[in-house]
């Protein structure tokens, strides 16, 4: 339960802010000038705030969509991400947000229409829009109604594809809506033992799989995101059994794409994360690469990636598999 909401003065009379505050029903609403005066402050603890995150309601200014990094696509030529939300209620130990942000409080940009206006400018060419880069697309949905508001919008733009990236099992707004051809609900999945160990506060694998089955029964296109792959001593049996379990439940006709990539971090995130992450062993095995990333030593990385790619190709056509590395 969110007890504290910070509200930018500029949007204090915005009807969406009112509705969100009513849904959150916080103990206190604190007026602020701009979200950066809290969110960007140096002396704060991401780890302590993860204990009880507050919600900051803000208005986004400047650029609303950004090109995605190279090699992170799922088959489209034009690819952008947008972030209506910063941070996430789950506590995945590998998450780069722990190194990117100083604060674990949620920032929700409520001027959805400005995002939509920017996205509309690309409506005549086939373009993919990724919504889950800086947050889980669905996890705050009961409060934000982001999906409920953006689905009808994307429905009207047949050449624009929306990827919702999530681990959430809150699928009601999707189930209640007729499936649309240009929306992909992409689930990040890990073997159950790894979920327990490092994806803290996130729904367990079997619940995510149940949500995928429900969504496919309602004709939603699904993406599977095996990213990050985590190196464990018995990774062969762990991932073999995991893929077997996942693909025993998936309807391949409604599978849009599969991505995979091993655990990696830009070096600028590694240092702050060392002070935040509970599961220190996860980071201690990483090594710095010449291109300024931290990842597994080459031998481990290649073994893990090769094995998982080969296993995946037993179940999925390679045209649907994309390597994000």
């Amino acid at each position: 339960m969110i007890e504290t909401v910070y509200l930018e003065k500029e949007i204090k009379n915005h009807p969406r802010a009112d509705k969100i505050i009513n849904r959150v029903n916080p103990k206190r609403v604190i007026e602020i000038e701009r979200y950066q005066e809290l969110f960007n402050l140096k002396s704060q603890s991401f780890r302590l705030q993860k204990n009880k995150p507050s919600l900051i309601l803000a208005k986004k200014h400047g650029k609303f969509i950004h090109p995605i990094p190279e090699k992170y696509g799922i088959g489209g030529k034009e690819n952008y991400y947008f972030s209506h939300l910063l941070n996430c209620p789950f506590d995945c130990q590998y998450c780069f947000l722990q190194g990117l942000y100083r604060s674990a409080n949620y920032v929700l940009f409520i001027n959805y229409e400005d995002f939509m206006e920017e996205i509309s400018k690309k409506k005549d060419q086939e373009t993919y829009f990724f919504s889950g880069y800086d947050a889980d697309s669905l996890a705050l949905e009961p409060k934000s109604h982001f999906v409920a508001e953006f689905l009808p919008f994307f429905e009207s733009l047949p050449h624009s594809f929306l990827e919702l990236r999530t681990k959430s099992i809150f699928t009601r707004p999707l189930i209640n809506h007729q499936a649309i051809a240009n929306c992909i609900v992409a689930y990040t999945l890990s073997p159950e033992s790894i979920c327990k160990e490092v994806e803290l506060k996130a729904p367990p694998l079997h619940k995510r799989l149940k949500s995928i089955v429900d969504l496919q029964q309602n004709q939603w296109k699904i993406g599977l995101r095996f990213d990050p792959l985590i190196y464990v001593d018995n990774f062969e049996s762990t991932y073999k059994n995991f893929f077997q379990e996942v693909f025993s439940k998936i309807n391949l006709d409604l599978l849009h794409s599969v991505t995979l990539g091993t655990f990696r971090l830009p070096s600028s995130f590694y240092k702050p994360m060392k002070k935040q992450v509970k599961n220190q062993k996860l980071l201690a095995v990483l090594e710095k690469t010449p291109d300024n990333q931290y990842t597994y030593p080459p031998e481990k990385l290649e073994k893990l990636l090769h094995f998982c790619t080969e296993e995946l190709l037993h179940y999925v056509n390679k045209e649907k598999v994309f390597l994000c590395q």
Partner: protein, 257 residues
Amino acid sequence: MILLTTATEIEARAVIQKLKLKKLQDPYFSIWQNEEVILVITGIGKVKTASAIAYVFAITKSSIKAAINFGLAGHKYLDPGLVFLAHKIMDFTNGKSFYPGISFSFKDITSPLTTFDLPYTSYEIDSGYDMEGVAFFETCLKFLSLDVIHFLKTVSDNAKNPLPPQLDKNFFLHLMKASLSALESLIATLTSMNKLLFTPPSVDLSFFIENWNFTESEKNILSDVLQRLMILEKPYKVEALKSLSKHEVLQDLKRLL
């Protein structure tokens, strides 16, 4: 250890008794301590507050993990005797605002708090009033994260119940005693929050520095490798390294990862 600050002796008296604090022999400030808490009576106003806090942080090195400013405050509308946690601190002089991070469940009253340079008696601003808050927060922020810097204030007067010209010390003492349970609860909360923080294991390089002439950059690499070995619980035998060159030592240790 938790740092408590009050502006005056009368605000500190009840907590000194309750927590059985012992006075330190200090030439500059009135400082009291037990195993978990260190209290400093700062004096009234921003400058005295900032200097007392900086002083205590200096003498205690890095053992302070959280700070609470505890004391009396005027308020526009809250009744005398009510205790509130400040959720926004405003400097009346320059309009700057600060936000203590309430990263724990707190169901009781919270309120803004405005810091003035002189006593404020017109009760027009919707908040609590004090003369130290901003200085307490800004100084503590040099040493701690905003999530562990808090204000627990007991309302002493409001627009309907202004302070009389002759102050009654017993009334203040009574108010402070009544707020002690809220203080103890906040101390317990901040103490337990500290357990959520991870401190990477510290590495002792003395053996390596005595036996090899590592550059500063090599010491950093060595420290990182040794720390990772500790986290991964991979032991190494120092005696076996003695016959190696410093580059071989680094290579050997890295190989263990």
